[in-house]
């Protein structure tokens, strides 16, 4: 059933798009933020038997509230397993993880990512960023990765300032030569559209464009000669159900809007969000016949 939502936000469109990338029965390595919203939507719609691994040591949680971080207590709420990061990272390196969601500040045409620094001198960066965290591990070993990124016009670059997380490196055969177990990125979901990677050249091409986005604007936001699919289509909008699920899980738009700004210093609003989450989430879980 595709009862599309009439009103939805761009983050909601992106999360719904990623949710559709997750298949039933899969094991996914999910970071918090938008990927978590997407994973939750998938679990309650197209992939009821998929389970989530969270980086700091949780598998298959069934939380009734919004997780805050990869090491957040919510991640082991009613989980199948709780313990170490090495359990989930080791399982991933051994090939058990079907799909992982990652992001970065810069990306190139082979899907390589930079989340470490901006500038051309590693030792004196213009802007220092977070670093790999688990992104390099997921990009190296997950069977496939889905990349979620903001497109700001400057971050789809010809050459990365630093290669933090491997995509297809220099092209066909490069991952195998490097000894990487995973097979690399299959999709890039951005604020402008959806990109795939060509099986022959391993180069990114535009497959879908978001409703209302101008193709020339997309091309201008990509610093290399962007390949566009001859069958370019418009991104499928989120369904009403997908949007309902997102707003039930994240009522203050902490991940899907500017909820963080409103919560800064506002303890009561923050706590009320949690205290009130139990019943609506439980109802949602039950409506899907889950436990």
């Amino acid at each position: 059933m595709s009862n599309y939502a009439e009103k939805y936000s761009l983050p909601e469109l992106m999360a719904a798009t990623v949710a559709r990338e997750i298949q039933d029965g899969e094991l996914a390595f999910i970071g918090v933020g938008m990927p978590l919203i997407a994973a939750t939507v998938a679990k309650f719609t197209n992939a009821p038997n998929f389970n989530m691994m969270v980086e700091y040591g949780a598998v298959g949680p069934s939380p009734r509230r919004l997780p805050m971080c990869v090491n957040c207590a919510v991640n082991n709420e009613r989980a199948y397993y709780a313990g170490t990061q090495r359990e989930v990272m080791g399982a991933q390196q051994a090939g058990f993880v079907d799909v992982a969601c990652i992001s970065g500040a810069q990306i190139d045409k082979f899907g390589n990512l930079n989340s470490s620094l901006i500038g051309n001198d590693y030792f004196h960066p213009k802007v220092r960023l977070a670093g790999s965290g688990g992104a390099n591990d997921l990009a190296s070993s997950a069977k496939r990765t889905i990349i979620m990124m903001r497109q700001d016009g400057r971050n789809f670059v010809e050459k990365l300032d630093y290669l933090t997380s491997p995509g297809y490196l220099t092209g066909p055969g490069a991952r195998e030569k490097a000894g990487l177990p995973g097979s690399g990125p299959v999709a890039v979901v951005t604020t402008m559209g959806v990109y795939r990677f060509d099986n022959e050249t391993r180069e990114m091409f535009l497959e879908k464009i978001h409703p209302g986005v101008d193709l020339e604007k997309v091309k201008a936001a990509v610093k290399w000669e962007l390949a566009v699919s001859p069958n370019l289509t418009e991104t499928e909008p989120p369904t009403e159900e997908q949007v309902m699920i997102m707003r039930t899980l994240d009522p203050l738009a902490v991940y899907l809007g500017n909820g963080r700004a409103t919560l800064s210093g506002d303890f009561d609003t923050f706590m009320k969000m949690f205290e009130d989450s139990y019943q609506p989430m439980l109802d949602l879980i039950k409506s899907k016949g889950m436990v």
Binding site: E26, N49, Y80
Partner: protein, 318 residues
């Protein structure tokens, strides 16, 4: 560019579906001729071993990887199924000398047995390497001994950081692993209570995993105590409900080792004829584990359980 998107292969995760089946089904489905079989020692998967022997005409030959085995592996060796044994120790423990093992190695009875040796830790980290998807693990055991002299798979290198010698052992990926554990839910989340040796890492190393358990519990019980989950569902192919499934050995917090039975079995194992008489009666002569338990006697098994619970019951003060 043909604009044909990259399609990635699936991961190795087993899906979260109902995995409960009988030992007969599990062994038939996963264990074939020439299977490279891994086996846990804590607890001993007796119910699964018995079923493998019942299907020996179909299976014919197994190569095995263990750390240490105390008695139970000899049930397989004596049956003529085992061609090769990768091991650190194979003996009777308190039951004493393992004549079955001796006959196979010294005299090739009932068939020649090739032995590939490691130390216990050396054997265990081979599974750990596989569980992490790395080709080897470094270890400080076995250096200076003659174990590497007769096992070329053990490589001694100079550590590139300290230049001191370190031994490398290669990852071991069993085709199938069999193990006996405390409890599991129907999709295969397994919880081991008490000591469990290397059962956790063996399950992570193997391509297919068959777990027999004392109890099957609801998913909600697993979710209630997620820190007790020893083997998450994605490693597991089959859950076999086999109460007392480690007899004559122990199952921590469930029942005690039946030494009287073990010593008596070992007395019979002293000759191949004695071993076969025992096998005919207790293994081939029983159609499944429940049938074996009836033959041993549930009164006897129950007394072993009550004795264990007099001293320890998980989560309780005794």
């Amino acid at each position: 560019m043909r604009y044909e998107p990259v399609v990635a292969p699936k991961g190795r995760a087993k899906p979260p579906v109902n995995k409960i089946m009988t030992a007969k089904e599990a062994v038939s489905r996963f264990i074939k001729e020439d299977t490279y079989l891994g086996m846990s020692v804590s607890a001993a998967p007796a119910a699964l071993i018995w079923e493998i022997v019942r299907q020996r005409d179909r299976i014919k030959t197994l190569d095995m990887t263990i750390t240490s085995q105390i008695g139970m592996s000899s049930v397989l060796i004596g049956s003529g199924l085992v061609r090769k044994l990768e091991m650190a120790y194979n003996w009777g423990g308190i039951e004493g000398e393992d004549k079955v093992f001796r006959r196979a190695v010294e005299k090739g009875i009932p068939r020649p047995l090739e032995v590939e040796e490691y130390s216990n830790f050396g054997a265990a980290v081979r599974w750990q390497a596989a569980s992490m998807g790395v080709p080897f693990m470094p270890v400080k055991s076995m250096l200076g001994s003659e174990i590497p002299k007769y096992n070329p798979k053990i490589k001694i290198i100079d550590d590139p950081y300290t230049n001191e010698p370190v031994a490398l052992v290669p990852a071991s990926y069993p085709d199938v692993a069999i193990m006996h554990c405390s409890r599991a839910d129907e999709i295969g989340n397994v919880q081991c209570i008490g000591l469990y040796g290397n059962t956790d890492t063996l399950a992570r190393a193997a391509k297919h995993v068959i777990v027999s358990v004392e109890e099957i519990v609801p998913q909600a019980e697993i979710r209630r105590l997620p820190n007790l989950t020893t083997i998450p569902y994605y490693y597991v192919d089959a859950i076999v409900h086999a109460p007392f499934g480690a007899h004559w050995r122990e199952s921590s917090f469930y029942y005690h080792h039946d030494l009287a039975y073990g010593l008596d079995a070992y007395r019979q194992f002293a000759t191949q004829e004695g071993y076969e008489a025992w096998l005919d009666k207790y293994v081939l002569g029983t159609k499944d584990w429940d049938d074996y338990c009836k033959l041993v006697g549930y009164d006897r098994l129950n007394r072993l359980m009550l004795s264990e619970h007099k001293y320890q019951k998980f989560g309780e003060v005794r």
